[in-house]
């Protein structure tokens, strides 16, 4: 009998017990839908987080003062302006480097006030962090040298303070000092690592001389919260980090055996760590979905065994009129495969629907990928074959006379 005729026979057999067939399929449907939806959501989340991390600035290497040790102890130390100057001169293969001093401060306009991170920095910080402006301009060298009281607001900060008014040219208070708004950053969305949407940026000199005062001075030296730089190419990131560490050790008088009192951090390292986490998570999700498919497969096997028992006389009759073992085996195998493939396709559609729903609800931009669909489809087919073989061979092995006499 050819495959098409077998599929027709299988469909008819499955239609006899519609409810049972649907319930049997449900295991596969849920398993496959879970695989498709979870993979799509996982892919979407990974893509969006990766984009955010990359949005922080490409090839970025950042130095922070102090260091967290295992166990939560913190080694305190200062990162000074002269450290920054030494790094500027000493580190090769860096395209831009900028110093930042930041503190939480209160911004006030009219009756509105917000507490945000105010970053005092220089013009090229815009490049390091790949920041884009929605309006106006960034702080400039001239602002810096003239100690101008100008501020660039993060998009959320601008919304919170001005509630729809155009902020450019207006004066706001930072703590008790008036600043003029010269620009608003474009929103980057998301958050977490140093979100720029909730920030304000002022010139570094202005910060030292007019706003932060003694808070930015330690032991008579101007200090920084961080120094960020961009390596010239992604391949240079490692080298830049090595140089930063060498120069900083030298400047802080640390021997090779001493613990570092500063932290060098690269966005690439962050991305790598993140990739590892997502890979682990994907395996984990896949394992859960795999288990549900396994359970679905066992359900199919169970029902097929019942079906073989119920149809013992039919099998006997088929054998009596000339069906071989292989023919019977094939008939029942096709039935299981049809069952799990219908379940698989329905599951793919359902999973796709869930992914679409999640995207439409704006939770995560789910990304249904072709290879996920292929994988789910072939996995369903595999489940059908694997769990169909035993019931089918049971049917095929029945002795014709015993099958015919079965009551």
């Amino acid at each position: 009998m050819n495959v098409l005729a077998n599929i027709r026979v299988a469909m008819r057999a499955l239609a006899v017990n519609k409810l049972r067939s649907v319930l049997t399929m449900l295991g596969i449907i849920i398993g496959v839908a879970a695989v498709v939806a979870l993979m799509a959501i996982g892919n979407g989340a990974t893509a969006s987080i990766t984009e955010q991390i990359e949005g922080i600035g490409s090839n970025m290497v950042t130095v922070f003062p102090g260091r967290f040790e295992r166990g939560g102890e913190r080694i305190q130390a200062n990162l000074t302006y002269s450290d920054y100057e030494a790094l500027t001169q000493g580190v090769e293969k860096v395209s831009v480097i900028s110093p930042v001093f930041q503190r939480f401060s209160q911004l006030t306009y009219g009756g509105n006030s917000v507490d945000v991170e105010v970053m005092a920095t220089v013009d090229n910080y815009q490049q390091v962090r790949a920041m884009e402006l929605a309006n106006g301009r960034f702080v400039s060298r001239i602002d810096d040298s003239s100690r101008a009281r100008v501020v660039v607001l993060g998009s959320q900060t601008a919304t919170d303070l001005f509630a729809g008014l155009s902020p450019i040219g207006r004066n706001i208070r930072i703590d008790d000092v008036f600043f003029q708004v010269i620009g608003v950053l474009a929103s980057k969305g998301g958050g977490g690592f140093g979100s720029e949407d909730d920030s304000a940026i002022i010139p570094l000199e202005t910060g030292y001389t007019r706003l932060f005062g003694s808070r930015a001075i330690r032991q008579g030296e101007r200090v920084l919260s961080l120094v960020s730089m961009s390596a010239a190419t992604p391949e240079d990131v490692e080298w830049v980090m090595v140089q930063v560490e060498r120069i900083m050790r030298q400047r802080h008088g640390l021997k090779l055996s001493d613990e570092l009192d500063f932290t060098v951090f690269s966005q690439n390292a962050f991305l790598e760590a993140f990739d590892q986490i997502t890979a682990t998570l994907t395996i984990f999700l896949g394992a859960i979905a795999g288990i549900s498919l396994l359970v679905g497969g066992i359900g199919i096997m169970n029902i097929m065994l019942v079906s073989v028992t119920e149809r013992t006389r039919e099998i006997g009759l088929r054998k009596a009129v000339g069906a071989r073992r292989g023919t019977i085996m094939f008939q029942f195998l096709i039935e299981t495969i049809v069952l799990s493939l219908i379940g698989g396709v329905t599951g793919i559609a359902l999973g796709w629907g869930i992914a679409y729903g999640v995207s439409a609800a704006d939770l995560v931009q789910a990304d249904v990928q072709g290879n996920t669909i292929m994988m789910a489809f072939f996995f369903a087919a595999f489940v059908g074959i694997f769990f169909g073989i035993y019931p089918a061979s049971r049917a095929a092995r029945l002795s014709p006379i015993e099958a015919l006499r079965y009551e």
Binding site: V16, L317, V321, G322, A323, R324, G326, P400, I401
Partner: protein, 232 residues
């Protein structure tokens, strides 16, 4: 089909023993029988006489413990399962007490089933099946499903199915057992007609003396042995 001087079935010293716990049940104990082409015989005997076992062995549904069986010129013992399946499909036509039709499947498709397994395809398959249904007088019921047919009609579909591959022999196991006496008589009439007009070789297993009376030869079994083999 008429090889071996018209002998379709020849069995020699056929035994079938079952082990039931500690005792050996001798369902058949050295049976000899030969059936010529075009014969119509009945195998009779009380329950437990071994007639169903004999029928199963004649139909290649079961294998004997001992003895030789030559069907249509071929020795059956030692054949592979696949070869036996082919023999069943092509050389033997079965009619069962309970019809054994596939439910939810039209009369025509039921009749086509042996052709499908024999590898007959397409138009040839259709026309053979129609012919067979026509032969049993059901040309106008081809698309009916078993549930839509009377018991007598269902059994006639089963006969058409048994005949469709032009087998060497038709084996009927209590064919009237599930039918009322009138329908049973009609069915036996059909068998008789097929035998007369088409020269079909027919072997009916029955415990009903009235059915046996309609055949020219009656073989009586008792305790796994042939008690009597009488031809009219």
């Amino acid at each position: 089909m008429f090889s071996d001087n018209g002998v379709v079935i020849r069995i020699e010293g056929i035994s079938k023993h079952y082990q039931m716990g500690d005792t050996t049940v001798r369902a058949l104990d050295g049976v000899d029988l030969s059936v010529n082409s075009g014969e119509m015989l009945s195998i009779m005997g009380p329950s437990g006489s071994g007639k169903s076992t004999l029928m199963a062995i004649l139909g290649c549904l079961d294998k004997p413990s001992h003895g030789r069986y030559r069907l249509d010129g071929e020795y059956v013992e030692g054949m592979s399962d696949a070869r036996l399946a082919e023999i069943r499909g092509k050389k033997i036509g079965f009619v069962f007490q309970q019809f054994n039709l596939l439910a939810r499947t039209s009369a025509l498709e039921n009749v086509m089933l042996p052709l499908t397994y024999a590898g007959v395809r397409g138009r040839e398959k259709q026309s053979h099946a129609r012919e067979a249904l026509d032969l049993v007088g059901l040309a106008d019921r081809m698309d009916h499903k078993p549930g839509e047919l009377s018991g007598g009609q269902q059994q006639r579909v089963a006969i058409a199915r048994a005949l469709v591959n032009r087998p060497a022999i038709l084996l009927a196991d209590e064919p009237t057992g599930a039918l009322d006496s009138k329908t049973g008589d009609e069915l036996m009439e059909l068998f008789g007609k097929l035998h007369r007009d088409r020269g079909i070789t027919l072997c009916v297993v029955t415990h009903d003396p009235e059915v046996a009376a309609l055949t020219q030869r009656v073989v009586r079994l008792h305790d796994g042995n042939v008690l009597e083999d009488k031809s009219k």
